[in-house]
Structures are given as structure tokens and as C-alpha cells.
């Protein structure tokens, strides 16, 4: 345990001491949120202009309203949810993806700078090296995700949290997502010689994982081949937990909330196990 927290402490110290990196990492989600969430306003499509509404008989207004409400709840989870809030919660999870994917690069860097050898000659478990880095990535992801959400709030996210317990679930989901993704990425990149390869892996993972999740659009409007991918993608589950806890208020579906959280827990445990196994087996100074 001491060795894991020592490695985690080092990673976090380094991170806290380079604020430019932290800020740069926030720019991309901000863009996605701003461009997609604001410009590409899906909820606008389902808003009936005032003058049209005024010319309709009251009976049909009610029918039209209920129709649009049903469409909105089907797409965005609840009738009150606007597209910007929908995307902002998506982006809060996407930053976790970015942070986790890039966290794997630290092993390639440590290898390059020789620090990895220092860890490897110490009498510690190889898995501690990976777990230390995974936990550091998770703390970073939590901080960055909070910052993205705060930016979202400043730009007009309408929060409607159901209960403190669900909010705690949302925080847990971010942590579990970070553990899942960073463990997988580190397991994949353990033996990579240089960070150039790592960049390639990062690009290979980032966008496909983002687009096969429900970050930008709901699963219901995805093509059929993509839906199962979205269901497998841990990002989707974290996003749904976040939306359930923060946006849907009392209309949240508790059963599916619990399912998403359970899926993430299992995924995180398996991924961390895989990462530790891969580290004990394959992490070495040899290339």
C-alpha cells in the first residue's frame, strides 16, 4: 500500500506543479461543449415558435406539447433536459476519457527518462507501479471532471439533482470510469517504446470511444450496429449515471441507475485486475 501511494503521490505532485497542462486539457471539452452544446442545439428543433403556438387551439397545443415532451424524454432522458445540459454531462465524462488515455503515456515517459528502471529495481510489485498511476489518473480525472462541470454550469447547465446519494453515485462513476480506462490504456501501452506510439494509441482510442458513447447524442438515435457498442462502452454507463444523478431530478429511473453503476464497478475491477496482471507479467526494462 505504501508503495502504491508513494507512486501516486509522485504523479500528483508533478501534475499539480504544471498548471499549463491542466488548463490545456480543459480546452478540448470546452470546445465540444461550446460548439456542440450551444451551436448544434437539438432541443431547438423541438421547440414550437410562440406565434405558431398561439394560433393553435388549446386542445392541439396540449397534444403537441405532450408529443414533444415524449420525444424529449426519449432522447434526452427527461422533458426538462435541454441539449446543452445533455452534452455538458457527456463532456464531463469525456474529459475522464482524455485524462485516462493520456495517463498511460507516463510509463513511456518514465521509460524514456530512465525513471522506470528506478522503479523496476526497487523491491516493489510491478502492479504497484500501475495501480499508483491508475489511482493518480483517477484523482486527476475527478478534479478535471469537476472543472468541466463547473464550466458547464457557468455556461448554463440546468442541474436538477435528485438526492445527495445519487450525486455520490455520480462521483463514484467518474472514479470507476477513470480506473477502468486508465488501467486498460496502461495495460495496452506497457511495452511501448516511445511516446510517439503512445500518441497513436491515444488517438486510436479517444475519438472512437467518445463517438460510440452517449456523450453527444442519445443511444436511441444511433444506427443499429452502433447501439451494442454504446452499451459495451464504459463511457456510456458513466454518462448515464451522471445524467441520472444531475439532470433528471425525481424522474430518474433508479433501476437503470443502479445497473449502470454496477456495470462500471465490474468493469473497473476487471480492468484494474488486467492492468495489474499485465504489469506483473510484462512490465520490464526489456523492450
Amino acid at each position: 500500500m505504501g508503495e502504491i501511494s508513494a507512486i501516486m503521490g509522485r504523479e500528483l505532485r508533478k501534475w499539480v506543479r504544471s498548471p499549463p497542462l491542466l488548463l490545456m486539457a480543459l480546452i478540448q471539452p470546452l470546445f465540444w461543449m461550446g460548439l456542440y452544446g450551444k451551436a448544434f442545439n437539438l432541443t431547438g428543433l423541438f421547440t414550437v415558435p410562440e406565434d405558431v403556438l398561439r394560433n393553435l387551439p388549446p386542445e392541439s397545443t396540449r397534444v403537441v406539447a405532450s408529443l414533444f415532451n415524449q420525444v424529449a424524454s426519449r432522447l434526452f432522458g427527461s422533458p426538462e433536459t435541454d441539449y446543452f445540459s445533455f452534452v455538458a454531462t457527456g463532456m464531463t465524462s469525456v474529459i475522464v476519457l482524455f485524462v485516462s488515455v493520456f495517463s498511460g503515456m507516463s510509463i513511456a515517459w518514465d521509460r524514456r527518462l530512465g525513471f522506470l528502471n528506478k522503479l523496476l529495481v526497487a523491491p516493489i510489485r510491478r502492479s504497484s507501479i500501475v495501480l499508483g498511476k491508475v489511482l493518480a489518473a483517477s484523482v486527476r480525472a475527478l478534479v478535471q471532471a469537476t472543472m468541466v462541470l463547473l464550466m458547464g454550469l457557468a455556461l448554463g447547465v440546468k442541474l436538477n439533482p435528485a438526492s445527495p446519494l445519487l450525486v455520490a453515485g455520480a462521483i463514484a462513476s467518474i472514479f470507476l470510469l477513470a480506473v477502468s480506462l486508465s488501467s486498460l490504456v496502461i495495460a495496452l501501452t506497457l511495452r511501448l517504446k516511445s511516446w510517439e506510439y503512445h500518441m497513436a494509441v491515444a488517438n486510436l482510442l479517444n475519438l472512437p470511444l467518445m463517438f460510440t458513447s452517449t456523450a453527444l447524442y442519445p443511444q436511441s438515435i444511433m444506427p443499429d450496429w452502433m447501439k451494442p457498442l454504446a452499451t459495451l462502452n464504459p463511457l456510456t454507463h458513466a454518462i448515464e449515471v451522471l445524467r441520472g444523478a444531475l439532470l433528471y431530478g425525481n424522474s430518474v429511473d433508479l433501476a437503470s441507475f443502479q445497473f449502470h453503476l454496477a456495470y462500471l464497478s465490474v468493469f473497473a475491477i476487471l480492468a484494474a485486475g488486467l492492468g495489474s496482471y499485465a504489469a506483473n507479467r510484462y512490465l520490464s526494462a526489456e523492450r
Partner: protein, 333 residues
């Protein structure tokens, strides 16, 4: 303990189709400062990496402090310290944070660690700089911190891979002062690599000359020089009328003699014994000696006589050149 501190037997390491280490055997006694001497690419670092459990040998066996480097890796790791070729202390942390990190990686209890950190900082004279970030350190300071970090858990055997690579001459001399002090005060066994022949000569108890993965000779620098090098005597007499050749020819222990007018260059096996006899003969033969000079052999000559090449002709791999530059840049920075 009776058992050697380090014992390597027929170690081989093959990378693809490159044989980096080709069946080397040697042992290092407790308390010795042992040097692996050879050009870049000779297999020195690979040997250190095998002995420090970083890589597994293709065949052969090795024990460090009695523990097998293949099967008892964590025992080996807990009794050794490694100062790698690259500067690997963390730039963004302070000196003391680097040492605390090492202490926890070696499971040194907190209170013991704090006292030990004070001790090692004292040992390498970094007390004042300890709370500054390493990025503000000079190259020599970094190397000293690196030494301190490798000592935090009181290792029995210290491995130094090219401890002075990329440092300027003065700093190199300082680092050596520190290394000798560590060996004395911490009762360490040290295995180091270097391609600076003078440094090995001045500091190692014994050296193994290694070339292309093979050990060419092992012994103290003095033994090696006596066995594979020769003293060189250069002299000049006044006037041209003297037949230097016949005067010098009878002197015992002369291996090679070249005469050019009033000058002569001799290779001899025991210069200190040849010199008096030589001077006696010259004076007895009526020559007036204007100048006489004796040079002792260097390990460089030993290397040339063993391998037929000078150690300096070798060029490092691209990667090594890159690392060296990286180190030099850090030293300047």
C-alpha cells in the same frame, strides 16, 4: 560472509541477433570497488542490467549478495542500489521529495527515513539545496542526489553505470571524491562501468576489461598494466658521435628499441629497474644525457594490446549519443 558479493557465471544475453554479453564470468569480493571497463556497446550496461534484475540473462547465472538474480529478484533488489547512466531523479520534485519517494519505494519506515535522508544529504553535501526543485540543480548536484537516492535503504552492493558520463572534468573529479567517501563510510561493495580509463585506473581495486561482450582480462590496474602494457623511456644525448644503439642494446628488460640520431625510445618491462642501469651505461659509454623521461603505461595501452583497438575509436549507438546529449543539456540547464 565467505561468499563473493557478486558472482557471475557464463552470463549471456542475446537481443535478436546481437550478442550483447557473450559468456562472461567474474566475481567481486565484499568491500571491493570493481570496474567494468570497455568502449560503448561492449556489454557493460547489459551486464549491470542483468545483475540488477532489470533484464533476464539468456543463459548463465549470477548471484548478488548470495541471491540468484533470476529467481530471488526481490531479495536482490532490496540489497542493491543502482545509479543508472541517465539522470533519473525527478526534475519537478525537490531533492528531499525525491529521497522520500525512494525511501517509501524501499519500505524504509518514516522516522528512520527522515534520519537517513539527513545522513545521505550530508554525505553528498546537498543539505542546503535539498528543498529546491531538482530542475535548478547543476549536473554534478543531480548526480550527487542520484548517489544519495541509491543509498537511502543502506544497500550492500552499489551499481554505478558510467557515473561521470557527460560531466565536465572538474565535476568528474568531485563525483569520484564522493564515491570513494561512500565506499569508505557505508562499507559498500561497488560495481561500476566506465569508458574513462584514467578514472578506472585511479579508483578501482580491480577492473575487468570488456570488449564485444567478452572479458579480455581481469586484475588490479597495476597488474593489468604490468602484464599488458610496458613502460616507455625516451632519452636524448648530446652530440651525434655516439652509437646509442650499441650502448643501449645490452640493457636487460628492453622489449623494443628505436634510435634516431641522438634520440632513443625504449619499451621496457620494469622501467624503475631499467632506468638506473641505462643511465649507468650511457654515462659509462661517455654520453652526456640531455634529457630522459619515463612514462608508465595507461589502461588505454592495456586495452589496445588486448583488443588491437583504442577505446576512443568506438562510437556509441545513436541512442547513447542522444542520452549523452540529454544529460549534457540537463547539466547546462
Amino acid at each position: 560472509m565467505g561468499v563473493p558479493a557478486i558472482e557471475a557465471e557464463d552470463l549471456r544475453k542475446v537481443f535478436g541477433d546481437v550478442v550483447a554479453v557473450d559468456g562472461i564470468s567474474f566475481s567481486v569480493e565484499e568491500g571491493e570497488l570493481f570496474g567494468l571497463l570497455g568502449p560503448n556497446g561492449a556489454g557493460k550496461t547489459t551486464t549491470i542490467n542483468i545483475l540488477t534484475t532489470l533484464i533476464r540473462p539468456t543463459s548463465g547465472s549470477a548471484r548478488v549478495w548470495g541471491y540468484d538474480v533470476r529467481t530471488e529478484t526481490s531479495k536482490v533488489r532490496s540489497v542493491i542500489g543502482l545509479v543508472p547512466q541517465d539522470l533519473t531523479v525527478d526534475d519537478e520534485l525537490t531533492g528531499i521529495e525525491n529521497l522520500r519517494l525512494m525511501a517509501s519505494l524501499y519500505h524504509v519506515p518514516k522516522d528512520v527515513a527522515e534520519r537517513r535522508i539527513e545522513e545521505v544529504l550530508e554525505l553528498v553535501d546537498l543539505k542546503e539545496a535539498a528543498r529546491r526543485r531538482v530542475e535548478t540543480y547543476s549536473g554534478g548536484m543531480r548526480k550527487r542526489l542520484e548517489l544519495a537516492a541509491a543509498l537511502i535503504h543502506r544497500p550492500k552492493v552499489l551499481f554505478l553505470d558510467e557515473p561521470t558520463l557527460g560531466l565536465d572534468v572538474q565535476t568528474r573529479a568531485h563525483i569520484w571524491d564522493y564515491i570513494r567517501r561512500l565506499v569508505r563510510e557505508e562499507q559498500l561493495t561497488v560495481l561500476m562501468t566506465t569508458h574513462y580509463m584514467e578514472e578506472a585506473d585511479a579508483n578501482c581495486d580491480r577492473v575487468a576489461v570488456i570488449d564485444r561482450g567478452k572479458i579480455m582480462a581481469i586484475g588490479s590496474p597495476r597488474e593489468l598494466k604490468a602484464a599488458h602494457g610496458s613502460d616507455v623511456i625516451e632519452l636524448e644525448v648530446q652530440g651525434n658521435g655516439i652509437d646509442l644503439h650499441s650502448l643501449v642494446n645490452g640493457v636487460g628488460g628492453v622489449l623494443d628499441l628505436r634510435v634516431e640520431g641522438s634520440r632513443a625510445v625504449l619499451k621496457v618491462s620494469r622501467g624503475e629497474e631499467v632506468l638506473p642501469e641505462l643511465v649507468g651505461r650511457l654515462i659509462g659509454g661517455g654520453a652526456i644525457v640531455r634529457r630522459i623521461e619515463m612514462r608508465r603505461p595507461t589502461l588505454d595501452e592495456v586495452f589496445i594490446s588486448l583488443t588491437g583497438r583504442s577505446i576512443r575509436e568506438e562510437h556509441g549507438s545513436w541512442e547513447e549519443v542522444f542520452r549523452q546529449r540529454l544529460n549534457i543539456r540537463r547539466v547546462r540547464g
